[in-house]
Point group: C2
Chain length 321, copies 2
Amino acid sequence: MSSEFDLIARYFTRPAPAGLLGVGDDCALFPVPAGMHIATSTDLLIEGRHFFPDVDPRALGHKSLAVNLSDLAAMGARPVGCVLGLALPQANEPWLAAFAQGFHALADMHGCPLIGGDTTRSPHDLAISVTIFGAVAADRALRRDAAQVGDEIWVSGTLGAADVAYRLLDGHLPADATLLAATRRALEWPEPRVALGQGLLGVAHAAIDISDGLLQDLGHILSASRVGAQLHYDAMPVAPALHGMPPAALTQAVLGGGDVYELCFTAAADQHDQVLSAAARAGAAVTRVGHITQTPGVVVLGADGQPLSALPRGFDHFPVS
Amino acid sequence: MSSEFDLIARYFTRPAPAGLLGVGDDCALFPVPAGMHIATSTDLLIEGRHFFPDVDPRALGHKSLAVNLSDLAAMGARPVGCVLGLALPQANEPWLAAFAQGFHALADMHGCPLIGGDTTRSPHDLAISVTIFGAVAADRALRRDAAQVGDEIWVSGTLGAADVAYRLLDGHLPADATLLAATRRALEWPEPRVALGQGLLGVAHAAIDISDGLLQDLGHILSASRVGAQLHYDAMPVAPALHGMPPAALTQAVLGGGDVYELCFTAAADQHDQVLSAAARAGAAVTRVGHITQTPGVVVLGADGQPLSALPRGFDHFPVS
């Protein structure tokens, strides 16, 4: 009753959509619309590193797929399907059922069926790998290396809440049940900006999703595009729950906080209204936070027009030791 | 010098082939030949479960990709590219360099470039996820559910060596340095039958790669195709190094031993010569080991024409407890 194959079948096999050969053969097969490229991204999430051991498994199922959908969104790609690898310390069926529920609910919302996978036992850590596939016209895809001097820099949604929730849960910020209640959803149930990404095709130049912090991820656009940026700290869309936090901690969360899964993108200034229209159609708030400059590096101006002196660093799994 | 991004760049970023956008954007992009479907497979390998902690990292890099190439082979798909997730307990650069060398050498041999990935730190176990993409015409792909009554059943290469090496290394078989030396390569450096799989398109009906043992993997073809099989034990292509082993251990290794990464496939009897020609062109030995029957289940006949009484079970990561 609890063999590997039974577990896979019970929680992860569902009828394949028309045209797809899903879970249960050596490979899954899926068609590609004529003229489209496949966009693919992979993430490997490890217990104790990317999520807390006691996280709600339904939220974990959601987030495991959400972070990959967010990568598709940052290319402007339309989701086609995904595959899932799970290494489990034990075969806990209620846990699996909840994880699968969270995963499938988000997959259904974005038309991104689970078409293949691998389940195995792990000696210690729960490990989750998701690889996602989308379709996009290669010459229209939103790339990191396409920002141009004079572009406006935009951010979707709000910044900082997920980072604050993380720091409350791991003890780096003093316990605050009210603040945790107001920020936890941003950490555990991120909403990938899939519709916004597709809506920005032909409007935006460069895009990235914010996983490691605004400054670090924008930095990838800047170095790939060989440009710089000037940002206005007062323009940042700070998550409302964070108002009243100490300024230093707030700056860290807004500029350096990871796990955001909002889009940071650049578009020509004459596309300003088109950006706002695309965002409205996608149901996403967007905020202009600065512009692209010729001078390399990032300058963040404070309310007094002077550059902030101490900028936070982003998250790096292998920091210089 | 040892930040995550430096590590990725140093060992896993190489110039993307023409038409591909590789490592370094939110997604990798690759084109799909007109009329082809994408075949995809994913595997999640965990230290202590799928490989020993002291395994040669070059061999591990090779095998991590080989097991996925083997899944493409079993569909008859042509490799297009792959993505890699690595969770490492520490950033050990000589280890990474050797792993990358083994991985890239096999990728180059099969025209399957690494186009994306994710590197992270792991609290305990080394974890490796590989997802592979191939191209195949959907109506020609070798599927598990296409075996027909009367088909001949074939196996490529030889059986049993990898399982014996594994059992020698984990202590289930008594130490035998000569036997280990003769079998270890089969365990650590499997050669996926990519050319054979493509050569069997239009010739074979059903195919699977042998990862969990011949009987278990053939069983997947039988249940998907709603047929049975009669096998001849004396016809099995036993790895030469295994001759002289005690009969019970030998039977276990040949019929139940995993990690083989040879193909098991079925083809109509009138395609016998075409199977042999396709195998010769692919440089693979193939052996007919039985035929498909209407009666469900598997019967293995011994030299005396009588069914073997005790058949080994395959490998299951979550055995019934």
